[in-house]
């Protein structure tokens, strides 16, 4: 589903996964995508980051609040294995030294469990990404940029929408802001 995503939007998704991993979450949540939008580089920042900055929403402020949110269901496989005295990071490192980067992820068991580093999207973030496509179509934009992902996050139910709503950012308001970007600014 990421074929039509711009570089910045793709980067935001990758960064969301990294953020989820650092927070030791079992799934990627909309809040992680929101932070990813800030960190995705474009020229010099992603379109979504610029829109959020103009709306007065600060990354640092969001990050602090996200840290306070409950981590959600599920325990990482790394933690389960640690219980047995097995260091999954060490096993992964060993496997990659011998068989190349992402070796464990490529195996059938690795894919089925998505355990070895890959973190799946939760339902809300999946929905938000689907809606980002719909938002782009609605605006008759050919590519899905970070601004459309931002609209998707505002459209779908989830932590990101709640955080933004608490800061006065609404779907309608942001849709207008994206439309006003108009033809002058490239999507990114």
């Amino acid at each position: 589903m990421f074929e039509r995503f711009t570089q910045a939007a793709r980067r935001a998704v990758v960064l969301a996964q990294e953020d989820a991993r650092e927070r030791r979450q079992a799934q990627i949540r909309t809040e992680n995508l929101l932070l990813g939008l800030y960190d995705a580089p474009a020229t010099p920042e992603s379109t979504a980051a610029a829109l959020l900055r103009r709306a007065g929403v600060e990354r640092a402020d969001l990050a602090v609040e996200i840290t306070r949110l409950p981590r959600g269901e599920g325990t990482l496989d790394a933690e389960k294995l640690a219980l047995l005295g097995i260091d999954l990071d060490a096993v992964r490192r060993q496997a990659e030294e011998t068989f190349g980067p992402g070796a464990l992820d490529r195996t059938r068991a690795g894919k089925q469990r998505r355990m070895f580093g890959h973190i799946p999207f939760d339902d809300a973030s999946k929905k938000a990404l689907e809606l980002s496509l719909r938002e782009a179509l609605r605006l008759k934009h050919k590519e899905i940029g970070s601004e459309h992902v931002l609209l998707g996050l505002l459209h779908a139910e989830g932590g990101a929408r709640d955080l933004l709503a608490a800061r006065g950012v609404t779907l309608d308001g942001m849709r207008t802001a994206v439309e006003e970007l108009g033809r002058g600014e490239a999507s990114g």
Binding site: D77, K80, L81, A82, L83, D87, R108, A109, G110, F116
Partner: protein
């Protein structure tokens, strides 16, 4: 890893849910490592019989399990 180890130390090993989930994760890891090793052996020209011998399983079992994956 120190974080995860701390989590492990804090968890109760008498809780069946925790213990069973850990074993399930281990099984998945074992499957993954086995697939890597079987694929490597095949790419080095090992026969299914040779692989089965070292893995200490039947030739039929290893062949049936991995043939479909294109090894």
């Amino acid at each position: 890893m120190t974080d995860a180890t701390a989590v492990a130390a804090a968890a109760s090993s008498k809780d069946p849910h925790v213990g069973l989930a850990a074993v399930a994760a281990l099984r998945a890891l074992q499957e993954s490592l086995e697939e890597l090793q079987v694929g490597n052996a095949r790419s080095q020209g090992w026969s299914w019989a040779q692989i089965a011998g070292v893995l200490q399983v039947s030739k039929q079992a290893v062949h049936k399990k991995y043939r479909r994956l294109g090894y």
